[in-house]
């Protein structure tokens, strides 16, 4: 894994040289420019969210009356999809700070994989092919995304998100009009070294009077191997097996009692 990181630096440095921006002054500074200069950077690998650096939502969110009433009437056991082994969905999967994020990167696409203990792996597919977003894609949990490099910043736009997904575990929601704009870049943080930062903007005039903005920070975690996220469903399945087993025992008991 450490070799992989070294190679990443080599790539970042080479890319910087290729693009002629001359910023190839070694590890620790690649991608420091989030201002549109610089070249695409290597963000592949496993990243761990830094909960201590997650920007909390402001006290007063600029919610429309409809969105506000949903927050006020929120009941997690009724309204939170994760109670039913359903996915976080985007952007909640990027806002959460409990599970690592794996980024798979090629020149053509970026995949973001999260494996919370729900049912599926959450896989965000982000083509970088320059094609525009479709007009009105079918709503889905991870949405329809397009990405592009602006210098050394990866800009990702996502639409087509299911409004039954939550934005955060306190009941914050969005409408089907949500457009998520993310800017991913590498920054140098004193005492932490290089971090991946995701600047997240939620544009949704139906739910928010102004776009909501926040940031999430991630540290490289090459030692982490993402594991299969089957426990939620697995528990239900085991529960079903045992429930049946107990019912059979009860039926056998009743039968024995009668005869």
């Amino acid at each position: 894994m450490s070799m992989r990181r070294t190679k990443s630096w080599m790539i970042a440095a080479l890319l910087a040289t290729l693009a002629g921006c001359g910023k190839s002054d070694g590890p620790g500074t690649a991608g420091a420019a989030a201002d549109g200069t610089g070249a695409p950077i290597d963000i592949a690998g496993v990243w761990l969210p830094d909960a201590s650096r997650a920007e909390p939502w402001p006290e007063q969110l600029p919610l429309t009356p409809a969105a506000r009433s949903m927050v006020e009437n929120f009941n997690p056991s009724e309204h939170d999809p994760t109670t039913f082994c359903m996915p976080f969905g985007t952007p909640r999967n990027m806002l959460q700070t409990d599970y690592p994020l794996e980024i798979v990167q090629t020149a053509q696409r970026v995949m973001m994989v999260l494996q919370p203990n729900l049912a599926n792996s959450e896989v965000r597919r982000i083509p970088l092919d320059g094609n525009p977003l479709p007009e009105s894609p079918d709503p889905s949990w991870y949405g329809t995304s397009r990405g592009r490099w602006e210098g050394s910043t990866l800009v990702v736009e996502t639409i087509g998100l299911r409004p039954d997904a939550l934005v955060s575990g306190n009941g914050l929601r969005h409408s089907e009009e949500l457009r998520v704009i993310e800017k991913l870049s590498l920054v140098n943080v004193p005492e932490r070294g290089q971090m991946l930062v995701d600047e997240i903007e939620l544009h949704d005039p139906k739910a928010y009077e102004q776009p909501l903005k926040t940031r999430r920070y991630f540290v490289r975690a090459p030692q982490i191997q993402l594991r299969e996220p089957t426990s939620c469903i697995e528990l239900q399945w085991i529960d079903k097996l045992w429930r049946q087993r107990l019912e059979e025992h009860a039926a056998a008991g009743r039968k024995a009692g009668k005869s």
């Binding site: 995949m111 599926n120 039954d164 594991r227 299969e228 399945w237 529960d239 079903k240």
Partner: protein, 251 residues
């Protein structure tokens, strides 16, 4: 997703992407100049039901396994697949079944220099194949997709997977902790997409089978197909929200 496409889709905005392609492809060549060209399996693939092999009708179970299965079948008869099939209850597939089953669902391969990913649509599973990785440590926990490592033998990628979660003796394709799956992946011409991915899957499981079983799977290139979202328990959530009945047995 193929190399030709990679280089013809040039536009100003994609110049940076091109720089990436050159670096990534140049890197493999620089690492070992003596090897034959390594094929790029990247793309979306669909099992070709006509061209693919099947599990043998009579599987060579060891006497002990045959006895266990007979006992299990007797104890659980009649088997009701709408109730007793774990996959209907949203439990994901396990290797080798996830590669040998013939479904209408595609999977996508994304190749990076040190790791090849397989993203399946069905159950949204992710396989990670680490190139030239050391054997998994003894503490590695078993999982449905196991621990895979790959090595190139000429233009063939040989993938060895161990640490696969054992399947019960009663399951359709039982597996023991000794299961080792060896896959030989290569590209071939032909098929509806013009390009085929051939995967010779061999199961070595001395606790289950008297001899290894090999199935030759053929996947066709599914140009223009996007791997979709597959949320198996979606109907449970829908049922909760709109009061329709769920088809999931554990409801």
């Amino acid at each position: 997703m193929n190399t030709r496409m990679r280089y013809t889709r040039l536009s100003g905005a994609l110049l940076t992407a091109l720089a990436f392609s050159i670096l990534f492809s140049g890197r493999a060549a620089a690492a070992d100049e003596t090897v034959v060209a390594r094929p790029d399996f990247s793309g979306v693939w669909l099992p070709d039901s006509k061209a693919s092999g099947r599990w043998p009708a009579q599987r060579p179970f060891t006497p002990a396994m045959a006895e266990l299965r007979a006992k299990w079948e007797k104890a659980t008869a009649p088997i009701d697949l709408t109730r007793d099939d774990e996959h209907i209850s949203c439990m994901p597939y396990t290797l080798p079944y996830m590669m040998t089953t013939i479904t209408q669902y595609p999977f996508e391969i994304v190749s990076t220099p040190r790791r090849i990913y397989i993203f399946t649509e069905v159950y949204g599973q992710v396989r990670r194949i680490d190139i030239d990785a050391p054997p998994p440590s003894p503490e590695t926990l078993p999982s449905r997709t196991g621990t895979s490592r790959g090595r190139w033998e000429g233009s063939q990628l040989v993938v060895e997977t161990t640490n696969i979660l054992p399947e019960a003796e009663g399951s359709r394709y039982p597996g023991s902790p000794a299961l080792k799956v060896v896959e030989r992946l290569s590209l071939a011409e032909g098929g509806p997409g013009g390009k085929q991915l051939v995967n010779e899957v061999t199961m070595h499981d001395p606790l289950v089978y008297r001899e290894p079983i090999t199935i030759r799977m053929v996947y066709k290139l599914a140009t223009g197909v996007e791997v979709g979202e597959y949320i198996c328990n979606q109907d449970l959530w829908d049922a909760h929200r709109d009061g329709t009945s769920s088809k999931i047995p554990w409801r």
